[in-house]
């Protein structure tokens, strides 16, 4: 299986990445994907994601290995931003190419649940002139608990 796991320090185009991924997997019957963006909510001006070199990307690779063991995929892509992002900017793109639709869906769903609650990332957002640290929402933990992880 072809795997493409990246921690990105600069802005990226999910559409472009997805197009290349689709081209790389002509043999797959289907591709499921999810793009997460910084929500243009409240008065958030900037979001900052902080990673730790020795854990964050290795953790994403472990997640990919776990996913490859659970579902039959032709390809898996996980791109995640770190650093400063403006509202509306893409944070994460996950895509799975598979022969069977259900495998692709579940792999992406699982990856997102894991990334949102268990990845080695720390987040703060700037409202007005003040930075606020963000903890995972209960909802994200519940999503992750749907799987046996």
């Amino acid at each position: 299986m072809a795997r493409d796991v990246q921690l990105l320090t600069k802005g990226f185009s999910p559409g472009k990445a997805l197009g290349l991924f689709a081209k790389a997997h002509p043999e797959a019957g289907g591709i499921a994907s999810f793009v997460g963006k910084v929500r243009p909510d409240k008065d958030v001006k900037v979001l900052q994601l902080i990673h730790y070199d020795r854990l964050t990307l290795p953790g994403m690779e472990k997640l990919a290995t776990n996913i490859e063991g659970r579902w039959q995929l032709d390809g898996l892509l996980i791109h995640h931003r770190t650093g400063h992002m403006r509202p509306g900017a893409p944070i994460v793109l996950v895509a799975a190419a598979a022969r069977h639709r259900r495998d692709a869906f579940e792999a992406v769903d699982f990856a997102m649940d894991h990334l949102k609650s268990r990845s080695w990332l720390w987040k703060r957002e700037k409202r007005g002139d003040t930075w606020h640290w963000i903890e995972p929402r209960d909802e994200d933990h519940e999503d992750a608990n749907r799987w046996e992880i």
């Binding site: 730790y52 020795r54 854990l55 987040k123 995972p136």
Partner: protein
Amino acid sequence: MAVTVVFIGKLSDLAGEAERHIAAPLTWAGLLDALDAEVAGAARDERTKVAVNGEVLSDKATLVAGEGDEIALLPPVSGG
């Protein structure tokens, strides 16, 4: 070389620095002694995890770090 202690996320706010160097060898008790009271308190929080050279410890009390090792103090993750 000593031991590098990396403060992640809000722990770096508390510590007022991103990392510092402490003489090796370093145990959990030694680390807590070397940190400011407030940072030590946050390090003790059961939700704060500790990694040595990228390996997360299942029990912080077992920490032993030598010359050149990197200790990371990790607050609860926010997720992506």
